[in-house]
Symmetry: C2
Subunit: 123 residues, 2 copies
């Protein structure tokens, strides 16, 4: 059982958090990526927290969890805060393999996506 | 002459700003999107500002500028701050058509990109 946990920063603005939850639902609705469950969690300011997100995946039977940092740049949140939260919780589930994927902004295809999107804007 | 101006938030961390500049260079190197110039600008904390970014495009002969907000959620920066900065500068260039594209996080393909990327992560 492989689960995906999308991690966003979290916002005081509920609409922003709901955008992330909707993203999770949209990914869950795609059934060609091999994930048995797709969830989201937040570094701060919104629920669930990263530990609770991992616990939720484990409670649903995940034997493997891919953590995807939904961040555009490699700041302290990506390089330190997320790994720290993950490592704290990893100890609770020694039988679950937990991997942290590269953050969104590091994906090469982002440049193509931006260019395609912008080129479709018309007067 | 159609130019693309990618707008990021800007960071005190220079590496984050450099990631955006590199993104601009990578898009510029793709020559199949119909842009005659690709630049970046920052809402705050880094240079160039949005007005200076627009002025730079105009100085290079842009008759049309597509502004692409490189943001993941539709907060006040996207809904208010960027349009205000653009509108202030628009008056300086009445002959240049300036469009604001939808922000990055609103692009449907983001969900597919996240899922594809995460599904490639292996143990």
């Amino acid at each position: 059982m492989k689960h995906l946990l999308v991690i966003a920063h979290g916002s005081r603005r509920q609409e922003s958090n709901d955008e992330i939850r909707l993203l999770g639902e949209r990914i869950a609705a795609m059934n060609h990526h091999g994930f048995d469950g797709v969830h989201c969690a937040f570094l701060e300011l919104a629920d669930p927290s990263i530990p609770d997100g991992i616990r939720h995946c484990a409670a649903q039977g995940a034997s493997e969890i891919v953590i995807m940092p939904y961040f555009l740049s490699a700041g302290r949140h990506v390089s330190e805060d997320i790994p720290r939260e993950v490592d704290l919780t990893r100890q609770e589930f020694p039988d679950v393999r937990i991997h942290i994927a590269r953050y969104l902004g590091s994906i090469d295809l982002i440049a193509e996506l931006v260019a395609n999107h912008a080129s479709e804007v018309t007067a």
